[in-house]
Subunit: 147 residues, 10 copies
């Protein structure tokens, strides 16, 4: 019985063998690269139809589709990530967290940005002083209930 | 002798008395709202000219300008922030951190997004199913050195 | 300039002097006891009209109303609460957390219960073998986005 | 010799093979879905008769019944759960813990809600603005002893 | 307005001035030494009549009685106590915790010893090889509910 | 070469096969149930003669006796135990630790209760309002040295 | 009412004013330098007669003697000390802890070195390759009880 | 390819089979028991000649000598050791750390005791009131550099 | 499919068999010893051409080259390293961290030293009072952006 | 009675008033900038003559000299520093710690770089692609003792 970790291993092997990039895989199944990667890593659930397309694209065993469509258990290391590429985002949340909160309150009211009804993209922006990484996040505004 | 914490208190009092929003303060001094708020909170250093403009706009004591232009000591609580509005960003980094890393490597090579040569904005995006919070970050790509 | 902690102190003193229970205060302003207590403790924001009613009921200074209506910074001790009455709820989340997740997924799909669009009540249920505490929570179901 | 972890694996496989939901399994053995799931996960002990019914319903090996009826060792990760669906409950305890305590004291006296003589349910409540997750907990009130 | 910490300070000063031991104070108000000390430290609530007796015995201000009868907030340092006299009890729980659990299960069934409906005493037991500290705890057995 | 963990596994299997309780095993080798259980779990060392009796009673391999008589390495999870039955004892130490210390100092002087020259028992005390768990600990008083 | 922290401050001021070393103070009251320093820091209790001698030697207020003779609350930072001079001892315990345990077991049996019936000294040992710090500790051997 | 953990296992088996004590092994190779034990546990590196003698004494495979002479990676559990025999030394460092620092500064100047150019011994000291464990440590004094 | 951990094991075995030092390996492939070691440990990515040279020098399987050129996941133990040789560097950062920050700000402005566009070397400096370890680090200065 | 924290405050005020840089202060007293800053921050002890020069240069009260020459208590936050400028050095130790250890062992033998007999400098190195921060550390090699 395959679980999400097994399927991740199968996906990585197939991706290497086929010489595909995440962006190419995402395009073939009509999903975004961010969602595709995180669902392949077992941190999101594919809609079943998309899971079946992925299985076809990568030549995975048929039963992998159902596994890819299951609700995942999102476990990550609490506290501090050490990889510099990930740590920098943690640092940004630490430094700018209160600013994000203040501006959301100013623009919307007493509430938060949803991390569930949420999407994100990563793009490369050319620049003469060195290209830049652009990360865009968008989440539904959720108002605190008063009852 | 004023320090950054004292100046933050003075700014918050002046902002309340003048009935200004962060966006309005930012516009008056020609800086972005994200940078303006974080520098007012003592997490960034204003260029001296901008600090002097801020002092004029908010009617702060003259010596505050120099304090606002000093390099800050960026101290934040390590581990897990508890306010839900901030926690959701921490959660996004936990869930999507490895995805950000994978896509940056795929698009740029072996490196990271700088959190120093960095900018960010927050905007409100109208949507029929409920308005959305949009957060855009951009940082210079830094390639690991091999020597 | 009053802050939320100052107003909490004023509320507790007025409550003691007037001999009011949280339930009575809540009823007078037409809000639930859970929300009323948590907003008086500075963990939620009252709608401004309700804040003004509370100021009238408890004889607080007028400027307290605006403070009670500000977005709070929800700071609580991460890790483990020690008071036995609070710890038992933490223990319930530890023991039954995976069960809540499994049943939410079974009944709704891949998503969560919102802690923002949320309400809660506490009631006393008489029982011959010893009265029982009943806690009811209700939060909007939020479906994970796939994009 | 089977242990609780082995039996959990057997249950999950049988559940998948038989295409049963937790609610259906619970109904077949006349227990609640919350208790049934948590006992199947090894976090509660089934009464022996119920364990034997479960073994029959799912076609488990006979010796599994005794294992399901043993007192479990309730081990969960201390500190902060990361899965968003579980974290939101942890957040609720953090934000509303002091409120639950204050209202229990007001309604009952100096004591706590038991997490041992305890039951819980999860239901789906239809709502035009989006269905809601309703969680009901009930625990016996325990008065502190003074001696 | 006195709080529990203030009253503890007043009690310690009165106890020193009057030259009383905890055992003597406990005897004068007809409570046990363990409960008396912990309630004087603000970790338990005296029944109001006992609080008033204590106020009379120690010559405390009248309003202290009500404070001593309030439900306390039992905050203690999580993790590891450092004072050797307290640490040894923590160590005993670490070493013998699974043993206490196994024997309670063997003698009673699937349940726990209550820490709420609970009492404790400390006595000195003479012994030729060196006197011994005897600590006796007793708590109501609470059976896990199956529902 | 057997180690303490191996022997614990053998003991648990033999105990189950023979249908013995810890109390019965303890009685057969003339030791207390608390010590017997904790030494079988590898947290204490049996005197060699007792270890040999245990080997005979449970039909263990002969080399197990020497292992059971070795000094153990007492490793337990620092910080907070999660199982409710064990946690309640941790909570008692948190709430009553300073009280135990104060009363030991009052009755004995500046010192502690030994956790090494130590014994403990668990008994069931019938009570009309529900039977009670009684835990008795006794440790030699150790006086701090002044030199 | 003086407490131990107040007395420590008075001692440090008197020591500086009188130009005395810890060794000289210790010699004047007939105690060891290690015990004298730690009791002056509030980590040990002087015998009352010694406390009175110390009060006389340093010209402290008379009531300080009783404070110095009270049982202290030994609070120290759990986890890792940062001062290099103290950290090195922590490191020694980390590296050689299992060795100390193995050799104590080999020489004495199943037991420990007491940290209560304990003494320690620090001496300077001249050496041509650089003088050495010599630390000697001695504690009573305590045998684990088997009961 | 043997590593230090493998060699430790081989040493423990050979020691048991040959019925040797650490003191006897140490004597046979002309090293101290403390160093011998810690190097056998992989926490120190034997000089190669000594490693070869040990290999001969215990009948280890020849390649073990080189492994025993490699620089070890000294990994130990940070924070708090739980075994009582080791914990007591941790407690001593907690209680007496500032005293050790004060006396080293008084006797030597601004510096520390080296934990690298370091030796230690454990001896049994007979005493009518119960034998005592004596631990002696000596480390080179290192003066802080001022530049 | 080889991963970075597998390749590290192969490298260590080949290095031992060939009797090469890290400095010699580094020289053969024309990279620095610091970079070579850290990339062999899987903490940096070799340029592909260098990876292929390393494969040739050490006789590794051909597919190892690609693995050595992959972006690594830089995972290290957060908090405190215990090995004394590594801990001393951690201690230096703790003691001198604010000094490094102050001097960088004084010499450059409001910014940091990059740990990405970074190089480092270790050399042995002969000295009559004992040879010294010299560590040189150099990183590009990165100025905080103000926007 | 001044302590090190008081003197640090006086130094910072004098430095600001006199418009001096750390490098200029260091030069005036003939010490390095790194040592001067860290000793002014209370993390190192000045030789008394240098302390007196500093008092003269900055116009501090005479008694400050003695305080500056006292052995400091080097307390820093264990775990992870959050300021990006300091964090990067922590990250370097995390990523390159094992490499530093391996190369020190290869060049010197089984030992460490002293953090006590230690010096450090920070310089600005012009570069066409952006100036670089150069940090040089040098510490005496200390060989582990084998005894």
């Amino acid at each position: 019985m395959l679980d999400k970790e097994d399927v991740t291993v199968l996906i990585l092997a197939a991706k290497k063998k086929l010489g595909l990039k995440w962006e190419e895989i995402a395009e073939k199944i009509g999903m975004s690269p961010v969602f595709t990667h995180s669902a392949c890593m077992g941190m999101n659930a594919f809609p079943l139809a998309k899971a079946e397309e992925l299985v076809a694209v990568l030549g995975l065993p048929a039963e992998a589709a159902e596994v890819l469509a299951e609700s995942p258990n999102k476990v990550f290391d609490y506290t501090v990530p050490t990889d510099p590429c990930i740590y920098r985002f943690y640092e940004i949340v630490g430094v700018y967290g209160p600013t994000l909160k203040a501006l959301i309150h100013e623009k919307f009211g007493d509430g938060i940005m949803s991390a569930i009804d949420f999407d994100m993209s990563v793009t490369r922006v050319p620049s003469p002083k060195g290209d830049r990484v652009k990360v865009e996040m968008s989440g539904k505004y959720l108002q605190y209930n008063a009852w």
